[in-house]
Symmetry: C2
Subunit: 551 residues, 2 copies
């Protein structure tokens, strides 16, 4: 039977139109380092969005689903690109400026970007890549920075402001299919080539609604959000789109991401909300401890990207900044869970704190299940640990195939046969739908049909007074498939007694989880972002480079 | 370019699944008049939803898009039908129990309902209709009420509880197309046949997200919503669906809609939110004034259906119940606007109160435009009055055609050529997107290409000390097309002096709006719900039944 309802595509264009029309006086404020920050209303930005679209189409020849990349900080011009490119029907590709040069080059070529919009201050990063970029025809430079590094560059170079100057401030936006590609972002995995996630207009629109739901970020047009999380990092967690839906003001730090300017902009611009990863926030905490400032307006901080340490959460509580934990990844747009405690939990209680430390609860738009060692689906009992799999409209179901007409591909280790995303995260789900992550799937030890959390063993070991660091990795075992290998860094002056450490562990974990294999190392190998690099340890073990004691 | 995102249909089934799984302990509490209210968790209701679907399919033979009607109060069983019928792929048809018998019969036959689920207390209303219902095969009775009135009735009669007892508590719900029909509701217009609006799964899902957005109703799982607005009235404003999305508890008044039991259930069940039309709330106010009770938990009241008088809003503010105005209609699911004042407006100021009295602001999902006397689109300047036209995914684009395969139809007075809904409401929109309604389009006086608001003239006239009531209607005029006729009811002892009244009006409205035609009547004719019946006055004028003075 036919519904009689209208059918209007859910597009980025509608978000743009609404923000400009209904929330035209809301502000995008960009920090400039010195002097007054730069302020632009949504209405002013909307006019420039139209000008940018004209320039991209008429001057640079952007057509159909051409990719327009950005290599930019968080600022008003980056927001303009966020709307102009998808609304004109092209695809916005945000480039992660933290990636190594070779990876950036690979990604630009894989996405076949035709244009790169770049901040002047990032030209020293871009210029050396240019000879290797095979598809880029135009570079558009915005904001301060020495242009001379581009001299003799192959692609045509344009100034952002000159390019859009004098262009019409309205644009006859095409009516788009909501399933059309709108934006893309590559995951920077530690293994293999980066993988492209292509967001649709539909996924961005629905995700924006979710961000604005009461039990999500819950912001209104009285709020100002300090968007520290980069716009090249999963759409700045959806904030630029979501704010246009409800008129939330944006405070953009541009390249001033150090603790001192962040503290200064909080004091002077008085945001009510901030979104950031824990490391940035850890630095801010040290700064505020050393040089206290008035940060009283900032009462809500969304933290994601990696787990927020309890000590950091407590420290920010004490400053009046309530941390709200969230979990997500590039493949989930990113909002997967948000940790707002359930009804009935006493405020400021231990129970409430425990809920806030979980990754959070699944919203209606994200279905979740746990897949156990044998692929079976586990109960939501807060105990059974399995790999988290998710389904929903803002969850990736494939990766971009590359080139100009590459078909999406679905690696079996990333997507289940029935289309769910395998997150690679291992954890439990409580009966009321709260996710607690304990491990990465690749670090879990699969021992005789049961899973052993490497993180649990490490935390237990590191609580011993003689242990400076400990990493536990899976090693092959004839009988059990895999067993844990404990690698231990001793504190200075301490001596190794594996029997003692094993007995210490035995008080904290089940007997069958106790490692038989032990070794002393001088330091745990780390990745470029400071995480334990267990790949290296596994290889050292396989190559016989570690002196292992069998207990 | 292909997006790589998953594509999951937006369905009522997903709302059900989420509510049961993640918010399983949230409650549907049904008032029983005496003794303990009846409480059922979302998880318990979910099991019964599956049982009901089994019963409808296996015992009553409901297939495909068969219509299953409800003639019910707001209660847990009605919520169960809300989910079971659409989730199994059939169409829920909520019947308005306030309609005259002939209209109800017409509607049931037009929708070709095969089943009616009815509350026992409503059997005296249903029984006399049965001989005229041509498509109904089964009656399912729920809750208290004398069954004997059904004796000898043609359709098969079943007891709700007996029917579902012993059925499996899970159901293999079909995967549905999100554009499929989920529910339907007929408008009870004052002219012509009722018109059916058929909601899709998509429209209900998106509307539920909107209800849960911060600047909409803004409820969380700590809230309990007293759902006074009937479930047969535009899906109880979307609350049964929206609450399953976020775990908001529902307090259902069943048939106890009188002021005294409403006051009692607020005091004892302590809801935090209520949704109702002004008349119900006016009665509650009188009750609370006469017999004060502890209603301190109830801090937010959503009022819609018709404009909330300023005096009522102020009176509820004084009781600590903050009124939030909303506008909508059957054709808009119904959330069209919600009146939350914009950022920067001082709390409890005159300006804030003025914003709260508007119909509210358009959310991103509802596009709006004003169509002027000549069909031109008017600016959002807070002054230009035109007919409101809206577009969006939860806005009707047609009416149900009737019968078993009736095609939707689009009367030209209800839908624009480009598919927007013509609301029949006339008003202005401020630059920041707030709607103020001033008139129904059919009551506006179209004079020489300009529109004169009948309501403005009436309010101005009724502020004169000699005037008890006044209705202004359009009458044909050779020169101007239409001109206003002022019909005045004088207060006892007052004498008519039209010159004086005209001079009084001239201080308040523009000169060209002043009526030339005046008449005294003994009372303004009213509709069954107490509104001015201007149709009658226009006919009396046309038939020469009014003694008109020309000034």
């Amino acid at each position: 039977m036919l519904s009689t309802m209208q059918d209007v595509p859910l597009t980025v264009t509608r978000l743009l139109h609404h923000g400009v029309r209904v929330h035209g006086t809301s502000l995008i404020t960009t920090w400039t380092g010195e002097g007054e920050p730069h302020r632009r209303t949504f209405a002013e930005a909307g006019a420039r969005v139209a000008q940018l679209a004209h320039a991209l189409r008429d001057d640079l020849g952007v057509r159909d689903d051409d990719r327009v990349a950005t290599l930019m900080w968080n600022n008003a011009e980056h927001v303009e690109a966020y709307f102009a490119v998808p609304a004109m029907g092209a695809v916005l590709h945000t480039l992660n400026l933290r990636l190594p040069a070779a990876q950036l080059t690979w990604i630009v070529n894989h996405a076949a970007d035709r244009v790169i919009v770049v901040n002047g201050s990032l030209l020293p990063l871009l210029a050396p890549l240019l000879p290797g970029l095979t598809t880029v025809e135009h570079i558009v430079v915005s904001g301060p920075g020495d242009r001379s590094v581009l001299e003799g560059a192959r692609p045509q170079v344009h100034e952002y402001e000159e390019l859009i100057a004098g262009k019409p401030t309205t644009y006859d936006w095409p009516e788009l299919d909501e399933r059309q590609a709108a934006a893309m972002c590559y995951t920077s995995g530690t293994t293999g080539d980066p993988k492209g996630v292509v967001y649709s207009h539909r996924s961005i629109y629905l995700h924006s609604m979710q961000v604005n739901m009461t039990q999500s970020m819950g912001l209104t047009d009285s709020d100002t959000s300090l968007v520290v999380v980069p716009q090249f990092h999963v759409n700045a967690w959806g904030l630029p789109h979501a704010t246009f839906m409800t008129g939330v003001n944006m405070l953009m730090p541009d390249r001033f991401l150090q603790p001192a300017p962040l503290a200064q902009m909080i004091e002077s611009e008085r945001p009510t909300h901030a979104a950031a990863v824990p490391t940035i926030w850890q630095g801010l905490l040290a700064e505020l401890t050393a040089r206290p400032r008035d940060v009283s307006t900032l009462t809500q901080v969304t933290i994601g990207g990696s787990a927020c340490p309890p000590s950091l959460m407590k420290a920010f509580d004490d400053l009046g900044m309530r941390v709200c934990h969230a979990w997500g990844m590039t493949e989930t747009s990113p909002l997967g869970t948000v940790s707002r405690p359930p009804a009935g939990v006493e405020p400021d209680s231990e129970e409430e704190f425990a809920y806030r430390l979980t990754q959070g609860r699944f919203p209606a738009g994200v279905e979740a299940r746990l897949s156990g060692p044998g692929g079976e689906h586990l109960p939501w009992d807060g105990k059974s640990a399995g790999e988290l799999e998710v389904r929903g409209n803002w969850i990736a179901g494939a990766y971009y195939g590359g080139g100009t007409d590459g078909q999406p591909h679905r690696p079996a280790d990333k997507f289940s046969e029935d289309g769910w995303l395998k997150t690679g995260d291992v954890g439990t789900i409580s009966p009321d739908g709260y996710l607690t992550l304990t491990d990465r799937a690749k670090d879990v030890i699969k021992s005789g049909g049961e899973w052993i959390s490497s993180v649990d063993l490490e935390n237990a070991l590191m609580s011993h007074p003689d242990v400076a660091e400990a990493a536990v990795v899976a090693v092959p075992d004839d009988k059990w498939g895999e067993r844990p290998l404990a690698t231990v860094v001793l504190k200075e002056g301490a001596s190794a007694d594996f029997e003692v450490l094993r007995a210490f562990l035995a008080e904290k974990v089940a007997k069958w989880q106790l490692p038989e294999r032990w070794t002393i190392i001088s330091a745990v190998p780390k990745t470029s972002v400071g995480k334990f690099d267990k790949k290296v340890l596994r290889k050292q073990y396989a190559d016989g480079e570690l002196a292992v004691t069998q207990l």
